[in-house]
């Protein structure tokens, strides 16, 4: 584990932190975005931490649990980290659904923030 590249360590600790916040208190997610962060949620675009947090907190379920199946992280040419997550989630008492989520993380003033966030459910019954 000591030999893990830095981007792996940062990426995976971000992912752990993100879903821990998401599942316990979505209103706290503002802390990881900036005013220029972009979220694409099921094809819908949001920009800035306020709009992003408003979207995430307005999702109509009271309980959610994420389970991460796999995650991959890469360094980008401009010193950011690209992360991709594949997992399953359960909202209230609904059936478990798969999802994909990707992030770009950037180091700003010695802390890592999420500049880009894309989310899709992994279901295929709407085409």
């Amino acid at each position: 584990m000591v030999d893990q590249p830095l981007w792996e360590q940062i990426g995976s600790s971000f992912v752990q932190h993100y879903y821990q916040l998401f599942d316990s208190d979505r209103t706290q997610l503002g802390s990881i975005y900036t005013d220029t962060s972009c979220l694409t949620w099921e094809g819908q675009q949001f920009q800035g931490k306020n709009d992003i947090v408003e979207k995430l907190t307005s999702l109509p379920f009271s309980k959610i649990a994420h389970s991460i199946t796999a995650q991959d992280h890469q360094p980008t040419p401009d010193c950011c980290i690209l992360s991709m997550v594949v997992g399953q989630l359960k909202a209230d008492n609904d059936p478990i659904m798969g999802f994909h989520q990707s992030f770009i993380l950037k180091n700003v003033n010695d802390s890592w923030v999420c500049t880009n966030d894309m989310f899709r459910l992994a279901i295929h019954n709407f085409g």
Binding site: E42, Q88, M97, L121, F126
Partner: protein, 220 residues
């Protein structure tokens, strides 16, 4: 199951708030069982069932049976993550609109689902059957049969009190929906408005000329 031997493929969509019992309702209809555990398999998004539909003439005589291949689609809860838009509704021919008799809010939201349907379905007055589900939980009932019927009458749609747990009125509700759709098709001279791929003739499987020509009009 999709062996191709059918006269019509008809796609139904079950709608309603999360937790009203859509998945259990469809499971009861197709398998005759109640599954109190949630089906956790991701990717099984619809259930299928074959029925023989016999149209009933005005004199009560029943016509030749037609093989119907029904696809019953479930929303799997994705409505919480994205709005169900045209893409989701457009191919469905009929709608089972469910609410939970023990949850008043799910009944109040029937109005929202109706307006969603009027906007996104293939036409403004698609065939819909309203189902008050969980009627077996009579001690927890929060919506009276009377007020539910009143609402259904207002929209001019049939209403059933159903139980996905014991099967009460589940198949009747689906049968009535199928009947509405088949009657609509019989009424409709120009069938070009029927959504693509929703209802299709599956080749001339019999030689009855009058029926053959009728079917060919539906072939989209």
């Amino acid at each position: 199951m999709s062996d191709g031997e059918y006269d019509y493929l008809i796609k139904f969509l079950a709608l309603g708030d999360s937790g009203v019992g859509k998945t259990s309702f469809l499971y009861q209809y197709t398998d005759g069982k109640f599954n109190s555990k949630f089906i956790t398999t991701v990717g099984i998004d619809f259930r299928e069932k074959r029925v023989i539909y016999k149209s009933t003439g005005p004199d009560g005589s029943s016509g030749k049976g037609q093989k119907i291949h029904m696809q019953l689609w479930d929303t799997a809860g994705q409505e919480r993550f994205r709005s169900l838009t045209t893409a989701f509704f457009r191919d469905a021919m009929g709608f089972l609109l469910l609410f939970d008799l023990t949850n008043e809010q799910s009944f109040l939201n029937v109005r929202n689902w109706m307006s969603q349907l009027q906007i996104h379905a293939y036409c403004e007055n698609p065939d819909i059957v309203l189902c008050g589900n969980k009627c077996d939980l009579s001690d927890q009932r929060a919506v009276s049969e009377e007020e539910a019927r009143e609402l259904a009458d207002k929209y001019g749609i049939p209403y059933f009190e159903t139980s996905a747990a014991n099967g009460q009125h589940v198949s009747q509700a689906v049968d009535v929906l199928l009947d509405l759709i088949m009657k609509r098709m019989e009424r409709c001279v120009d069938k070009s408005w029927i959504p693509d791929g929703t209802v299709r003739a599956n080749g001339p499987t019999n030689t009855d000329l009058s029926e053959g020509s009728e079917r060919s009009k539906c072939a989209c």
